[in-house]
Amino acid sequence: MSEPVLSVRDLVTEFKTADGIVHAVDHVSYDVYPGETLGVVGESGSGKSVTVMSVLGLIPQPPGRIVGGEVIFGGRDLLKLSQQELQQIRGGEIGMIFQDPISSLNPVLTVGDQISEALLTHNSKLSAEDARKRSVELLHAVRVPNPDARFDQYPHEYSGGMRQRAMIAMAMANQPKLLIADEPTTALDVTIQAQVLDVLQQAQRETHAATILITHDLGLIAEMADRVVVMYAGRVVETGDVETIFHAPRHPYTLGLMASLPRLDMDLERLQPIPGQPPSLINLPPGCKFHPRCMLSHGRVRCRTEEPPLAPTAGGPGHRSACHFKEELADGVAALSADVRTAS
């Protein structure tokens, strides 16, 4: 395989609060390769967003603090760059799309201004007229109708889907090498989600950008991602290509996520939520962080005392899981998931 575009290595990010230190990201590592879409999936609070925010230096410090690790992008460690150098990369080589387009766009500036700003920030030679022309082109590219007039409108005059497409236009303005989309469709109506995904895929094709897609929506992962990283309690618990993750998961948490996914061939009543809640990131359980909710652990001492490393599975190349008993899942995912159902 070629060199990764982005390589996160042992990233550790903490937040200091009055109640204690929140271990938001704990030794997370993953790679993103050129042209691919990496899906990062997990419940809220699993550290999937904090990871990319740390990558971009967008963690508010204090209370946040990047304790360790490195983030290699274009041969440089982003964590060692100065704010000025990071500014060059943000919005330039790395474009970012956020969850809620109405709150992510500045309400008092026109959409056109905000797109032009992305252009002008990274190209000081660009004239205001050229920035406008290019912004209108970008609006056109993301299928905002009547882009010339829409340029001068404010975000509140846009529809929800149009706002998110404008965000995409902003993110792809400088032909980034990497697009990061943080829950890009979560805040949108189901009917609009498809359109926005379409535009996002088109943007990927046109810019040849690698993409990190952060979501809790496995359907979106199935549709968009080439490879998947599953996160839980600030850790990567399983990673592999999308086929493997969906058809032969080797981590009970991933399996739990699958079981909670509505499928056309299943009654809604048979949906299985994962029991319990994600742990407090201040006061984590010892051993495997998932064991209190795990159907494999059954009070096994090893689960409570020893944290499982992210290790290759017997399943296939590039497939890794952080579970002591991962190979038990190989015996038949279907059987086990049936077990889960009867257990309750």
């Binding site: 109640d19 209370p63 029991p275 809640q277 407090s280 652990s297 009070g299 257990a343």
Partner: protein
């Protein structure tokens, strides 16, 4: 940070709202399950009652604690002026006129040009100011709460009339109207000044209370109370008001500072409390003529006002932080 055993109040999350159910879904996972009970610490959502949360935040607020302590000392000393003051406030001693602050003969704040002990005068003046301010805070809080509650709860034309009146009172330039009212209606008595102040200082509270009532009256517990046949007044005072207390408490605290400031201003201008009743504002006006030579005559009563005002503001700040459920504890 688990909740104390036997706590009668229902769990509330940090937002003051009822906490999410602790465990969702599977009924097989309960407290009895040995597997989960072992690590409940890690799993449990922190649950504190509102009162615990308030105490915890308030006592952590160091500035507010210091302010509260100073206020208690100053207010107690002022209200007990008769026992604490070394001299009477009109006690003349021409042999010891215009002394600077000294420890001799307990003239801590010096004496004025008639030899009256200035510490005693400031103490008695503070007593007057504090009494007036407390009456103002009480009266204006009652008026503001009533008007806001009635407007917010009943709505319709009642709200319209009350709120337009409030707007109208707000349209008048506050201090100027107060000065005019004090000048035209006042007779130098502290209680008349207090009533005049209270009659014009209720407006902002009325607006705040109306706002809380507007949103609270739509809540389920009000519906429930209505359904069980509670009268309007019972709903207002028993059900809604306790939930709208935070801003009222903060506002009442801050009104004490406002009242002390305005009363001092009126007395300084000669329209408030007039001699022989001692008041901090008129002490400053008295000392003004010789302020270049006898610096303490203007400085010390003024600093007393500033000290009280500062403490009340810090206390109010602490109360606001502690009572506001949306604010996190400072890290």
């Amino acid at each position: 940070m688990s909740k104390p055993p036997g706590d009668p109040l229902p769990d509330t999350g940090p937002g003051g709202a009822p906490a999410e159910p602790q465990l969702q879904g599977s009924p097989s996972v309960t407290d009895d399950d040995p597997n989960t009970a072992l690590y409940r610490e890690g799993l449990e959502v922190k649950a504190l009652t509102q009162w615990q949360l308030f105490r915890r935040k308030f006592f952590r607020h160091k500035a507010a604690m210091v302010a509260l302590f100073v206020l208690v000392v100053v207010f107690t000393a002022a209200l007990l002026a008769e026992t604490i003051a070394p001299y009477g406030y009109e006690e003349l001693d021409l042999a010891n006129a215009t002394l600077g602050p000294t420890l001799e003969d307990n003239h801590f704040f010096g004496t004025d040009k008639l030899g009256r002990d200035y510490f005693s005068r400031v103490l008695y003046g503070t007593r007057t100011s504090v009494r007036v301010a407390l009456v103002v805070a009480l009266l204006s809080t009652v008026i503001g709460t009533l008007i806001g509650a009635i407007a917010g709860y009943f709505g319709g034309w009642i709200e319209n009339v009350l709120m337009r009146t409030t707007d109208l009172v707000l349209t008048l330039p506050g201090l100027a109207v107060l000065i005019a009212a004090a000048a035209l209606l006042g007779n130098g008595s502290p209680y008349r000044v207090a009533v005049i102040l209270a009659l014009l200082l209720w407006t902002s509270l009325a607006r705040i209370v109306r706002g809380s009532f507007l949103s609270l009256r739509e809540k389920e517990f009000v519906e429930a109370a209505k359904a069980s046949g509670a009268s309007d007044w019972r709903i207002i005072f028993r059900h809604i008001l306790p939930n709208a207390l935070s801003p009222i408490i903060v506002n009442a605290t801050l009104v004490v500072a406002t009242a002390i400031l305005i009363e001092a201003t009126l007395s300084f201008l000669g329209f408030g409390i007039t001699p022989p009743t001692p008041a901090l504002g008129s002490l400053i006006e008295d000392g003004r003529n010789s302020m270049l030579t006898d610096w303490w005559l203007v400085t010390l009563p003024g600093l007393t006002i500033v000290l009280i005002g500062l403490c009340i503001n810090f206390l109010g700040d602490g109360l606001r932080d502690a009572l506001d459920p949306t604010q996190q504890v400072r890290g």
